[in-house]
């Protein structure tokens, strides 16, 4: 592996408070120096990063890899060097062998790192426990139900007790099954006007209240995924203040869009959990701005056939890996958040959720690096995306922030 010098970029390493124009030196897959080359350093390759930002590779806490080759190429094109993969693949990731295969396939492709979440229960049915220890050994970083709620509260309690036994983290998308099963949009003014079955905020708050109580009882470490409401954020923040081992993230689309973006039944604005009100969006934005939440893409590639349907029949979700960075920058600009703080939400904050040392550029750290032009503007078109998922509410929009290079473990992968 050759040594690499990334010259004259603006190095932003939020975790270590670095923000200055300098060169980054990489040797043996790790950061070898900032500003000054280590003794005897000879660059085999150089990258001219003048005018660009050099930051830790993005860590995405939620990306579905339906066609793994294309999606991992999309990840590095978006500056994402680690992707956490939810277990709701087909088949669900509930056996160690499946996790093993996914991790190996990821290594073979050699783009972004694949960090699978194992299924908490067999088939994600919320009934019988999956082999958590076996899954962990095969590379699963935590356990999850993706967006399928555990209906049986006793099953959830036992799963959390069992996970706590081994010190495993459990990731849960808080959605009460009964209050969300028939709904397709936020139970608000827009759903009433359009005649769409509603999902009340209580679907989220009831689930969070249940989970928080079970965290208190079991001591299980829980990460709440994709919060959607102001009331939900308030409950999660209170639990964190209480000192419970809890964290949460927000899908980047929920920082920018509201129920009103559904307009005349736009299926690209269908999400799980649903987009809610302006007040909810503001609370999510405030939580992200204050640094209590990580931001993720919730990348969900959906084919045209599954989107070009009446709103309630269309599959929820949007493509995310290649828009995570520009949409985070767009949010930061609107919310008055500094570039360094914005990058923290997609690098060091998700690393903290994972309990990982990555997401930083300290000397000695693994060289997962993203080099992007913060001024470059590009139009989101189907052709502009490497992902198979072209589904986006931003189709046709111009986005600012273009990734120039991505390095994983000191290798240039984009």
């Amino acid at each position: 592996m050759s040594n690499i010098e990334i010259q004259n970029g603006r190095i932003i390493d939020p975790k270590n408070g670095v923000d200055r124009i300098a060169s980054l030196y990489i040797a043996d897959g790790r950061v070898a120096g900032i500003g000054a080359a280590p003794a005897g350093f000879v660059a085999g390759q150089t990258i001219d990063a003048a005018g660009c930002v050099v930051c830790p590779g993005l860590i995405d806490l939620g990306a579905r890899l339906n066609s793994i080759q294309a999606e991992l190429a999309a990840a590095v094109a978006g500056g994402v060097t680690s992707v956490v993969v939810p277990p709701d693949a087909d088949p669900p990731l509930d056996e160690p062998e499946l996790a093993d295969r996914l991790v190996h396939r990821g290594e073979e492709i050699g783009k972004a790192r694949v960090l699978p979440l194992g299924a908490l229960t067999l088939g994600l049915k919320g009934e019988r426990l999956a082999e958590l220890a076996g899954l962990q050994k095969a590379g699963c970083v935590a356990f999850s139900q993706a967006n399928k709620p555990v209906v049986d509260t006793e099953a959830l309690l036992r799963a959390m007790e069992y996970a706590a036994t081994f010190g495993f983290a459990v990731w849960l998308q808080p959605q009460d099954y009964w209050l969300s099963r028939n709904g397709i949009a936020h139970e608000g003014e827009l759903a009433s006007r359009l005649g769409l079955a509603g999902i009340p905020v209580a679907a989220e708050t009831i689930a969070i209240a249940t989970i928080v109580q079970l965290v208190r009882d079991t001591g299980c470490r829980v990460h709440l995924t994709r919060l959607s409401s102001a009331a939900g954020v308030a409950l999660a923040k209170a639990a964190i203040t209480e000192g419970l081992p809890l964290s949460f993230d927000i899908g980047v689309h929920h920082l920018l869009l509201t129920e009103n973006d559904i307009g005349f039944f736009n299926p690209h604005a269908r999400f799980c959990p649903p987009l809610r009100t302006q007040g909810d969006r503001q609370a999510l934005s405030d939580a992200a701005a204050a640094g209590v939440a990580a931001i993720c893409s919730d990348h969900t590639p959906v084919g045209a056939d599954d989107k070009l349907l009446p709103f309630g029949e269309a599959k929820p979700g949007a493509t995310g890996l290649e828009v995570l960075l520009p949409l985070t920058l767009k949010w930061a600009e609107a919310a008055g958040v500094s570039l360094s703080d914005a990058l923290a939400r997609i690098t060091s904050a998700p690393a903290a959720v994972l309990g990982s040392e990555s997401g930083q550029l300290a000397v000695g750290a693994v060289a997962d690096v993203c080099v992007f032009d913060p001024e470059a503007t590009w139009q989101l078109t189907p052709e502009a995306l490497k992902s198979r998922g072209k589904n986006s509410p931003w189709q046709g929009y111009f986005l600012t922030g273009k990734v120039r290079h991505t390095l994983v473990g000191g290798r240039i992968v984009y």
Binding site: E187, G188, E189, A191, S192, R193, L194, G195, L196, A197, G198, G263, F264, F265, P267, D305, L308, L309, P310, F311, G312, E313
Partner: protein, 319 residues
């Protein structure tokens, strides 16, 4: 936001919802319908406005009654009418909605009358037609999910105007299952657009959508209070599957609280009219003495419905 119902000159090219239509267009439809009432009284009940044009009735959800009135209206305009009972053919074979539409576009269709169980399906079709450059084909929504049933809403407006002349002095109550009713939504938007100062919704909390007040509607849970001095009472059908369950305990308890009886009707204005989109559940939402009584205009609604559908089809196909 672009309103797919109007072209860039602000003319009606599809009828998808009564929401977002200017008052002038609603009035144009009602005036045109009035002129067609005379056609229905003739011995030869035909005008040549849609001669040579093909109207496709696409009913993804069954409804003999609505489909028949559209068929009669299209035939009185001299159109060729093709009825497709899609619920039982294409989609059962796995064809997507837009594949079906593409196929029918190749059969020289001029107008699609669409009924679909999913809210918003006619919008998807209208946007697709625009995308593929077929602005010669028009869409009329004949009921989509819980969202809209604009021709029913318009025939209700026609009925109200026929009996009450002026919209701007009226109190109108809509009673029953508003949550699941596309008719109620279409009525509410049309009534507020036409200047009705007081629109009331009466029903139990389980059958009312949230934030109805934002649509300009006053909510009542007590029917006696809600009906007081109303000039128009629009009753809604209660679907069988909603009668016993989490929304309502029984048809009997519903009738006791929200069924329209002669006693309750006496609380409304003495010359109040009673409307119902049909089919009625006698003894559930309405007492037979009211349904067959002198204040009921329910059968006239059906007659007006044909003229209103003629008006809508002739206007959209002419733009």
């Amino acid at each position: 936001m672009h309103n797919p119902q109007l072209n860039k000159n602000g003319e009606l090219i599809h009828l998808l919802s009564t929401e977002g239509l200017p008052q002038a267009i609603l009035t144009q439809i009602l005036d045109t319908a009035q002129s067609f009432m005379e056609v229905s009284a003739r011995e030869v009940k035909k005008v040549p406005l849609l001669r040579g044009k093909s109207v496709f009735n696409l009913f993804f959800e069954n409804s003999t009654r609505t489909r028949t009135t559209f068929e009669i209206a299209a035939k009185r305009l001299s159109a060729d009418v093709i009825n497709l009972d899609i619920g039982r053919s294409s989609t059962a074979k796995g064809e997507t909605l837009l594949d079906t539409i593409d196929n029918l576009c190749s059969m020289d269709a001029n107008l699609f009358v669409v009924r679909h169980a999913s809210s918003g399906a006619p919008y998807l079709i209208a946007e697709h037609l625009q995308r593929i450059g077929r602005d010669d084909i028009h869409v009329v929504n004949a009921g989509d999910g819980r969202h809209a049933h604009p021709t029913q809403g318009l025939l209700d407006m026609y009925t109200i105007r026929h009996y009450k002349k002026d919209f701007t002095q009226l109190r109108v109550a809509i009673v029953g299952d508003i949550l699941h009713s596309r008719v109620a939504r279409s009525d509410i938007h049309a009534l507020t657009t036409l200047g009705v100062p007081e629109v009331r919704a009466i029903g139990p909390e389980t059958l009312l959508p949230k934030h109805l007040d934002k649509l300009g509607v006053q909510v009542f849970h007590d029917m006696n209070e809600g009906l007081k001095d109303c000039d128009v009472v629009i009753m809604l059908r209660l679907q069988n599957e909603r009668m016993n369950g989490a929304l309502l305990p029984s048809a009997g308890e519903y009738f006791r609280h929200y069924g329209l009886t002669p006693q309750k009707l006496a609380l409304a204005a003495p010359d109040a009219i009673v409307m119902h989109p049909g089919p009625m559940n006698r003894g559930v939402e309405i007492h037979s003495a009211v349904a067959d009584g002198p204040q009921a205009v329910i059968l006239n609604q059906v007659t007006f419905g044909i003229a209103v559908r003629m008006a809508v089809m002739s206007i959209v196909a002419g733009n």
